[in-house]
């Protein structure tokens, strides 16, 4: 709570800078529009204006700068415009009784969320299995660990179109599965690293104690290693779900998908509607925030129940 005031201040400064930046970014488009509306603009015609700097244009045509704050297709929309667009594609849709309309962000967010969660589940499972293998087998540790690191230095986006081609050739319909594979690829690494640390967290003395109890390997895994790894697991799950969302959106971007937040960005680009791009970006940010917060709450509750809260 102590940092609430600083955070709000910084946010206010960012929004302020954003508003200031709108004027120079949009001034050319604004002047074009004003001229078409019959107004007199200092250097006439958009072609001669191209050689004049935006600052000069703003000084000479001060009365038309405000047009840039209400453009339909701005280069940089104002925060208020983005907010309105977000409301128009979510809240208003609900108010009209069509919350799942394909023109609304709720539908696209839901598609993205589904793939993210599938990828997250798959990536987490892979990460945990890999971590168990690495902790229990020296061979696995020596063979897998370097490749796990190398796998993360490979830009997955290069592979994304290939994964989609491959899965459609194998006969998997739709984009859900390839998107989930891409997000699992980005998600498994943080979980793997966190779980290896977590499963190794118990001290030798604790492992020895269990041995004096004549505990089997499975028992010491279930009773000691697994509970000890839970705090590490949650920390890496929070990183992992954010990575999974990035993966899903990357999977939606280059591949001609038609539903999902990434596809909204792509379609907004193709149809030249910047507001759609910006609102999809912010919807993705809200989704990421919500997912990480949700995991944070679960982490706190779980650790409290386990008596490990700090």
């Amino acid at each position: 709570m102590k940092s609430l005031l600083p955070v709000l201040t910084v946010l206010a400064v960012i929004v302020g800078i954003w508003y200031l930046a709108v004027a120079p970014m949009n001034v050319r488009v604004a002047l074009d529009q004003a001229e078409r509306g019959g107004a007199v603009v200092m250097p006439e015609g958009s072609v001669p204006r191209r050689d004049v700097s935006v600052w000069r244009l703003m000084l000479d045509n001060a009365e038309h700068v405000s047009v840039g704050y209400a453009l339909e297709r701005p280069r940089l929309p104002t925060p208020a415009q983005v907010g309105q667009e977000l409301w128009k594609t979510t809240g208003e849709m609900v108010a009209k009784g069509r919350p799942w309309s394909k023109r609304g962000l709720l539908y696209h967010g839901w598609i993205t969320l589904q793939s993210t969660l599938w990828g997250f589940a798959l990536g987490t499972a892979l990460g945990i299995v890999g971590a168990v293998a690495i902790v229990y087998s020296r061979t696995a540790q020596l063979s897998l660990m370097p490749w796990a690191i190398i796998s993360q230095t490979i830009p997955i986006v290069a592979l994304a179109p290939m994964i989609i081609v491959l899965s459609s050739q194998v006969g998997i319909e739709g984009r859900g599965v390839p998107k989930a594979i891409i997000s699992a690829y980005l998600c498994f690494f943080p979980v793997l690293v966190g779980m290896v640390k977590g499963l190794r967290a118990p001290q030798p003395a604790q492992l020895d104690l269990l041995r004096t109890y004549n505990a089997t390997g499975l028992q010491s895994f279930l009773r000691l290693r697994l509970p000890a790894s839970v705090p590490y697991l949650f920390t890496s799950l929070k990183v992992g779900i954010a990575a999974a969302l990035v993966g899903t959106i990357v999977g939606e971007l280059p591949t001609g998908a038609i539903s999902g937040l990434g596809a909204r960005i792509l379609i907004g680009d193709q149809f030249g509607t910047p507001l759609a791009i910006w609102s999809a970006l912010f919807a993705a940010a809200v989704l990421a925030g919500a997912l990480v917060t949700l995991l944070d709450v679960i982490q706190r509750l779980t650790l409290q129940r386990m008596g490990m809260a700090t």
Binding site: T139, T153, L281, A284
Partner: protein, 279 residues
């Protein structure tokens, strides 16, 4: 059939060899040999499965085919590498890293700003920033400038957050010691706090290397001159020259690994004193 058996034999043989090597103990040669054998095994299995099942090269080419294409089209690959990695990714990486570093040092002087920016920076670092690619292409045009811009935004926040955290790493005791030496702000910064921050800074840089390549490649999907790895991949998928796409992927993988390796190598020289670097 013979290829399938070969794949199976390679799998068992590779694993057995690794298991045997792993028992040899902590020798440097073993630590290198085992992952290499593992990787080679995977390649042989891939080759075996593709040949054994007669998979069409339009769907999944065998590693040997990819290697031939790679060798035959090194000139195209080099042009694409220059466009995407050297012009787009590396320039963006350098600008973003320097900007983030300067911003971190500026912020660090104010407790208030640090407390306000850290949560926001952490949040933004987790966002799918690649989505700004079409906006940047719209703003900065098709050439490498827009790619570099995407990379700048992507690498900025991880490096910023890590640097700010690192600058707070020097303990109160160490700072007091500097004060007893009558060291000023800048002296304390250069002699104590920056060196102490280096492990964190390099952590941020390492994360950023991968992001830089991702940003540069994705931005090319939204428009680029007729060269570049992202351009070649998206057109290659369309025109079914899948072996060339895989060659590009191999270049991307090599470039990513090399970038990461260079940063890790510099880290080793700079933070030789840190416990994680000790043998």
């Amino acid at each position: 059939m013979i290829w399938l058996i070969l794949a199976l034999v390679a799998w068992l043989g590779g694993w057995a060899l690794n298991a045997w090597l792993a028992q040899r103990g902590e020798v440097r040669a073993v630590r290198i040999a085992v992952p290499v054998i593992f990787g080679l095994t995977l390649l042989v299995i891939w080759e075996g499965l593709v040949r054994g099942f007669g998979v069409s090269p339009v769907i999944l080419p065998a590693p040997s085919t990819v290697a031939q294409t790679f060798a035959a089209s090194t000139d195209i690959l080099w042009i694409d590498f220059q466009q995407t990695v050297i012009k787009g990714a590396l320039r963006g990486f350098a600008i973003g890293a320097i900007a983030a570093f300067a911003a971190a040092i500026a912020i660090d002087r104010s407790k208030f700003l640090t407390r306000g920016l850290l949560p926001i920076g952490n949040f933004v670092a987790a966002l799918p920033i690649v989505g700004i690619a079409p906006i940047m292409v719209n703003w900065f045009g098709f050439d490498w400038q827009s790619k570099a811009a995407v990379v700048v935004v992507m690498v900025f926040f991880p490096i910023l957050v890590n640097t700010v955290q690192g600058l707070n790493e020097a303990s109160a005791m160490q700072r007091d010691l500097m004060r007893t030496y009558a060291a000023g702000y800048w002296q304390t910064l250069f002699r104590l706090r920056l060196p102490a921050a280096m492990p964190f800074i390099f952590n941020g840089l390492k994360i950023a290397t991968t992001l830089a390549l991702i940003g540069a490649i994705v931005a090319e999907y939204f428009g680029s001159p007729t060269r570049g790895m992202g351009f070649r991949i998206s057109t290659g998928v369309g025109s079914l020259s899948i072996d060339l796409v895989w060659a590009e992927i191999a270049v991307a993988a090599l470039a990513g690994t090399a970038l990461y390796g260079i940063v890790a190598w510099i880290e080793k020289r700079v933070t030789f004193w840190h416990p994680s670097q000790r043998r």
